[in-house]
Amino acid sequence: MKSLRVIYGIARADFLERVRRNSYLVTLLFTVYLGYAAGTGRISLRLGDYRGMYTSAWIGIMISLVTTTFVSLVGFYIVKNAVDRDRQTGVGQILSATPLTKASYFLGKFLSNFAVLSSVVLLLAVGAVAMQFLAAEDRAFHPGALLLPFFLLTLPAMAVTAAMALLFETFRFLRGGFGNVVWFFTWTFGLALSAITKLPQLDPFGIWTAYKSMAPAARATIPGYVDGFSLTVADKSAKIATNFHWNGVDWTAEAVLLRLAWVAMAVALTLIGAYFFDRFDPAELPAQSGAKRSAKGFTVAPEAASALATTSVPPRTAVPIQLSPLIGGAQHSGALRILIAEIKLALKGYRWWWYAVAGGLVIAQFASPLEASRGPLLAAAWIWPILIWSTLGTRESRFGTQQLLFSCARILSRQFPAAWMAGVVVALLTGIGAGVRLALAGQRIGLIAWAAGVLFIPSLALALGVWSGTSKFFEGFYVALWYVGPLNRVAGLDFTGSAPTPQAARYALIYLSLAAILLIAAFFRRARQLRGT
């Protein structure tokens, strides 16, 4: 009983802390947009070329699948800071000195994560009810058919997402930007898992459950329908299958148990995370030298480091106090100096193998056929430095150096452009092979598209970083964009111009314009930050 009270206490405090932050408003805005996109057909469920009438069952399954799919991706980034916040604020040190067990702590955080994600689901479920009445394609309202998918498909998926976020926070190598990138691929794998294995037991998102229920009805009523089940984005061309009659998933005891098993799985994942959780103990750091540890991006808590660090500095008392005055003009160094400083800062901490891979990709761009060079190789080269770009605009808030920097002169005219230029230089150098190949081949439009990519990536990173104050948004958004654009070559989303399509010039200009808009947006936000509040 006492443990339950503790778990509830942790969950409640964490939930309240989160929903009272401004970032929760962004979460709600995302939810509203998702509901709007689904309600207006921008995101829709398809059976081949068809969609069903907007009955309770169709709207219920469609909105719940949209929610499951997109909220499990974005929601992960939203909730993946429950433990980190306690680590950063120092609350963790206080908690670790109490009798609180790791399991209670993690279960409390899990419930808080789940509650935040559930609040999004609740909003979308209410939106789904409204949608049926607004669309008015079918006025027969069946609350069970509409709402049960939210409870049995979406909420278990949210539980898994909530637990995975905690699990990622447990392991040091998954805590930061690398984990954010890994989640995207984990999520993609999770989506495809049931389709690959055709096993209802391996269906965390409930997509296979929905498909298995709808496909037979579709085959029976939709002429020519054989297979095909998808969520489509920005394609409103679906035909309405007026004869398609489907009353929703038949929630047998087995089907319900299969879904509830995912909730049990989420709890199990949480407890696994709790088992490996370091309980904010800095001594859990790997036994390495300070230099090596730092090179991996690990930091040592001051308390732990003090004993080592201070004892090695011999005490001195008789050092005379003497500072040479600065002569006039010493404080007007060129822009190149600060650019070099920003580049060094951006690249600091990466090991030799990082540079080896980046260098290898550049060599491959030079050595491969042009199509491969500007396509998959450039795509690989421009995902590799993602963690460098994601620090643009966020480094100051992440490391708490705002006050030091923002009290310096000419930050907007010197440091801000230098930080952006450092990002541009990284894009330029990592993609130089494809750029040179395009220039040598006389592919003017391809070269412009490549240049647009060079400018667009750091501009996007800087804008998202400065506006959000966290690197997570860029890491999540950029990986998704990179996956559908440069990697899968979805027209309009390929910001690298990886293929010589007729619309390449138009898209290159769009991305150049976007780069300018994003840079201006970042500039104004940073100017506002500099003005203070």
Binding site: G290, A291, R293, S294, A295, G297, F298, T299, V300, P302, A305, S306, L308, A309, T310, S312, V313, P315, R316, T317, V319, I321, Q322, L323, S324, P325, L326, I327, A330, Q331, H332, S333, R337, I338, I340, A341, K344, L345, K348, G349, R395, F399, G400, T401, Q402, Q403, L404, L405, F406, S407, C408, A409, R410, I411, R414, Q415, L530, R531, G532, T533
Partner: protein, 301 residues
């Protein structure tokens, strides 16, 4: 060289008034800014460091409004915030090189300056180690070094000795004294002995208002002949505290030796003592509180 703070007020969201009509005029020297927690000292520091803007009033640096032209001050400003971060992957030298570049120092000047500063803050031996492994005191010394990078004309240090060991604290105090000759130094702290050691001027802040501004000797003069030592049995200490402002106590064989600030003798056998700055500080605060915090700031000179 003059810093003028004119009727500055700062109201945060939620209508929390951190500063109210704060005015002060400063020339070269060390100003010790004293006040209890939540008095508004850090808010004032942040306004002077151009990190945040006042809700009303203005701050003039040599006649230039720093809200209109913050860079006029920023180029000559050294600022050590109460809480600041570092980049854990950089060494102390690299971090200072980075900030030197941000502050616009040319490479040769930066190199010499950083070398001197590392010597000054006693970090030469740790200069090439990543900051992530530094102790709190060592980080604080890096903070002190960065504040001095550009040879600032206005040096603002907020709780600079927090986390420093006694030896380093003495070094830093001496450094501030040395630096104060041709610049304005504003030292905000809770540690009265730090202020006592280096301040040429003292400003006492409470509830967002300036309570007293003057030279340390002027403040001490206010309590001259009003600091007493009285010996009472332990059982009477609570009653004594209720009647008088007790600034210190020490248990001895003959009872509790209480240090009392009072206009009149607190009891039979009481003898006057040489006042300390702490006595003056507590007396001024008590007077401010008893007047409801609304009393106008009384300039001691």
């Amino acid at each position: 060289m003059k810093l003028v703070i004119e009727n500055v007020s700062k109201t945060y969201r939620g209508k929390v008034e951190a500063l109210r009509n704060f005015s002060l005029e400063l020339g070269p020297g060390v100003l010790g800014l004293l006040g209890p927690n939540g008095a508004g000292k850090s808010t004032l520091m942040r306004i002077l460091a151009t990190i945040t803007q006042p809700s009303a009033g203005r701050v003039l640096w040599n006649g230039t409004d720093i809200k209109q032209n913050p860079d006029a001050l920023r180029t000559v400003l050294g600022y050590l915030p109460q809480d600041f971060g570092i980049y854990p992957n950089l060494s102390a030298t690299e971090f200072l090189e980075y900030l030197a570049a941000v502050k616009g120092l040319d490479a040769a000047t930066a190199r010499n300056r950083i070398s001197e500063l590392l010597e000054l803050v006693n970090l030469v031996d740790a200069a090439r180690r990543p900051l992530g492994g530094f102790s709190g005191g060592m980080r604080q010394r890096v903070g002190i070094a960065q504040a001095l990078l550009n040879d600032p004309k206005l040096l603002i240090v907020d709780e600079p000795t927090a986390g420093l060991d006694p030896e380093e604290r003495v070094r830093f105090r001496n450094l501030l004294s040395e630096l104060s000759g041709e610049r304005i130094v504003i030292l905000s702290t809770h540690i009265v002995s730090d202020v006592e050691a280096v301040a040429t001027d003292i400003a006492l802040v409470a509830q967002g208002q300036l309570v007293v501004h003057g030279a340390p000797e002027d403040l001490l003069a206010r309590v001259n002949g009003k600091v007493w030592e009285v010996v009472v049995p332990s059982s009477e200490l609570v009653a004594l505290r209720q009647r008088f402002l007790v600034s210190n106590t020490a248990h001895r064989n003959d009872g509790v030796h209480a240090r009392v600030v009072s206009d009149s003798a607190p009891g039979p056998g009481a003898r006057t003592l040489e006042p300390s700055l702490e006595d003056a500080y507590l007396a001024a605060l008590a007077t401010h509180r008893s007047s409801g915090g609304a009393a106008a700031a009384g300039a001691a000179r």
